[in-house]
Amino acid sequence: MSERASTSLDISPEIVSPEVVWIVCEDGSRWVETVRCFCLGGATNSVRVSVRIADEDEVLGLVNSLLRRPKRTVFVVWEMTPKTLAVKCRAITTLALTAPQILQIAAVTAIPMRYRSILSEFGATLQIRQPEEMQAIALRLNEQVLPGLARLR
């Protein structure tokens, strides 16, 4: 609630620090720990980085509330499992349509290869198989993608 109240103000982009928020949607804690471990790689000191956990039905609302504040970039990590594949695909598509600037990463360890190729169709920009791949992805996002996204906003 307090988040909504503060973000609804017309904050000028010049007075706020750039911020990156990683939202992780998963059953356990594997990917949130991975993101916590590597999310700061390559980020400059002026960028604030935070990690949040959300259920699939909370992500859209959370993203919308986060994006009210300027200079905030959101990355969403979805853990895809055979049981939640359909639900998560629907959530990914909804988010891609609502907030196309959000970069969505699908963690695909548990799903068969034949399903992985369709994820990009739903709106998952990146796929990650194992936690050790996250270091390179976070580094690339913080060093190259983030400045580009900031310019676009």
């Binding site: 991975t34 993101v35 471990c37 400059t44 002026s46 980085v49 194992q130």
Partner: protein, 476 residues
């Protein structure tokens, strides 16, 4: 069915189970259907006994015959021995109307028992997990495949510490290939525990296998002790003009300055027949010769010594700088950790230290997120610890040292924020925004806009001109 005492007990157990089970006899007819099958189909299964259940065989119009046919095993079962099928039985209506009563579909595993004319088939309904591959095994197989490929390609420099597919490890291997092909002075730069010594030994054996090798601890040396430590190599170099020798100096950048100078002197004396491989920390500095007098040894011994920066004299830098190998900290090449850990596990297992063949994914995840302050040596120690206490084929997180298995990363927000906000600039920006709104509302009429804002027209114009000037300066 055979009515023996034992078979009756078996049938009773089948009937007590909630999983539908049925059996098809050698002649392709249903010979047994369990009570759970009756519940699933919603009929009295006695009516299905002795009806044919053979895939592809002709079926009469009798609804029970058609239902029995839907329970048949898939074609090719007799050859394969086992098969899985999602069975969707349906019960046609007896009146001949096109409407059919659909029954809930069920995953069924068919198993052939025997291979001759007395072959029977058992069908067991339920959820079976064995069709999905074990992620741990798949992952371990993939890592092993990568490791084997690496070993084949890099057999000449195949020290475990250089295993990996990251950019850093590929860069290191390229340099090691060069170092292994030429005999020259060599400098290793890397953090503590990055296995530079074992790599240096390997390089030495690759390009100068028969050459005598002496190991020296740099920080302990003075010129006399250095001479004493390498006396055998010096004697050989003195005795024969063709003799060669190599010294590997641990912590070369922490070696006393006079010992460093003496080392350079020895190299000059034997005209590069005496090779130096120096192992240094990741960021040594070049010694400022003018400050040498000020940086003498402390006069009194103390446990609390000041941290003296590690330094190399410029002559030594020129010497070992000819070919340098930089070893990245393990935390910056996380992608390599699964391969490194598996390679260490292989080596330890080959040495008979334990039984474990692979590292489970949960344990691997713990290894991946751990920051590895002591780098490769710490990883080696962790795997050694794990393989010794793991009782089975796989290493789990519970077998890792406590520091690693209990480590949980926490993203710390960056401490430095943008705190310099100029209030004047913010007020100016706000003022300009109000002026723009007023001008927009009055269709660009400056006098009307000034009135609306409660200021004079001249002030409004001054403010607009100042803004335009400021924008011009920014753009230029």
């Amino acid at each position: 069915m055979t009515a023996g005492t034992k078979i009756r007990n078996l049938m009773r157990l089948f009937d007590a189970s909630d999983a539908p089970v049925w059996a098809i006899g050698p002649d392709g007819k249903l010979v047994y259907l369990s009570a759970a099958t009756a519940v699933w189909l919603g009929i009295d299964v006695e009516t299905l006994l002795d009806r044919r259940a053979v895939a592809g065989s002709p079926v009469s119009d009798d609804p029970m015959d058609q239902l029995a046919a839907t329970l048949s095993a898939p074609p090719g079962l007799l050859a394969r021995g086992t098969a899985s099928l999602r069975v969707q039985p349906h019960l046609p209506s007896k009146s001949g109307s096109p409407a059919v009563h659909r029954i809930e579909s069920l995953d069924v595993r068919f198993v052939r028992i025997g291979q001759n004319e007395s072959t029977i088939v058992f069908a067991i309904g339920g959820d079976f997990d064995d069709r999905t591959t074990n992620e741990d095994l798949t992952d371990a197989a993939l890592i092993r495949q990568q490791l084997d490929t690496w070993r084949k390609r890099h057999s000449s420099i195949a020290t475990i510490a250089t295993v990996g597919t990251s950019l850093a490890s590929r860069r290191t291997r390229s340099r090691l290939q060069v170092a292994a092909s030429v005999r020259s002075h060599l400098g290793f730069f890397g953090p503590t525990g990055s296995a530079s010594e074992s790599i240096a030994r390997h390089i030495h054996h690759a390009n100068a296998d028969r050459e005598p090798l002496v190991m020296v601890d740099g920080p302990l040396m003075d010129p006399e002790l250095l001479d004493a430590s390498i006396v055998s190599a010096i004697n050989q170099l003195t005795d024969s003009p063709d003799a060669l020798a190599t010294v590997i100096v641990r912590e070369l950048d922490d070696m006393p300055i006079d010992a460093q100078r003496h080392l350079v002197h020895l190299v000059d004396l034997f005209d590069d027949r005496f090779r130096v491989i120096g192992l240094c920390c990741d960021k040594p500095t070049i010694l400022n010769e003018a400050l040498i007098e000020e940086r003498e040894l402390p006069h009194k011994l103390s446990i609390e010594t000041d941290a003296v920066p590690r330094q190399l004299i410029s002559d030594l830098v020129e010497m070992v700088g000819a070919l340098t190998i930089t070893l990245e900290p393990l935390a910056s090449r996380v992608k390599d950790i699964p391969l490194l850990a598996s390679a260490i596990l292989d080596a330890r297992r080959a040495a008979g230290e334990g039984r474990a063949e692979r590292i489970g994914r949960a344990a691997m995840d713990s290894l991946v997120v751990y920051p590895w302050p002591s780098n490769f040596d710490e990883l080696d120690a962790a795997i050694r610890h794990a393989i010794r206490i793991a009782p089975g084929d796989s290493i789990g997180p519970e077998h890792l040292p406590l520091a690693i298995r209990s480590y949980h990363p926490h993203a710390k927000p960056q401490s430095e924020k943008v705190t310099t906000i100029s209030l004047d600039k913010k007020l100016e920006a706000y003022e300009m925004k109000m002026i723009e709104s007023a001008l927009e509302a009055t269709d660009g009429n400056r006098a009307a806009a000034a009135r609306a804002l409660g200021i004079t027209r001249s002030r409004l114009i001054r403010r607009i001109e100042a803004e335009l000037k400021s924008k011009d300066e920014k753009s230029s």
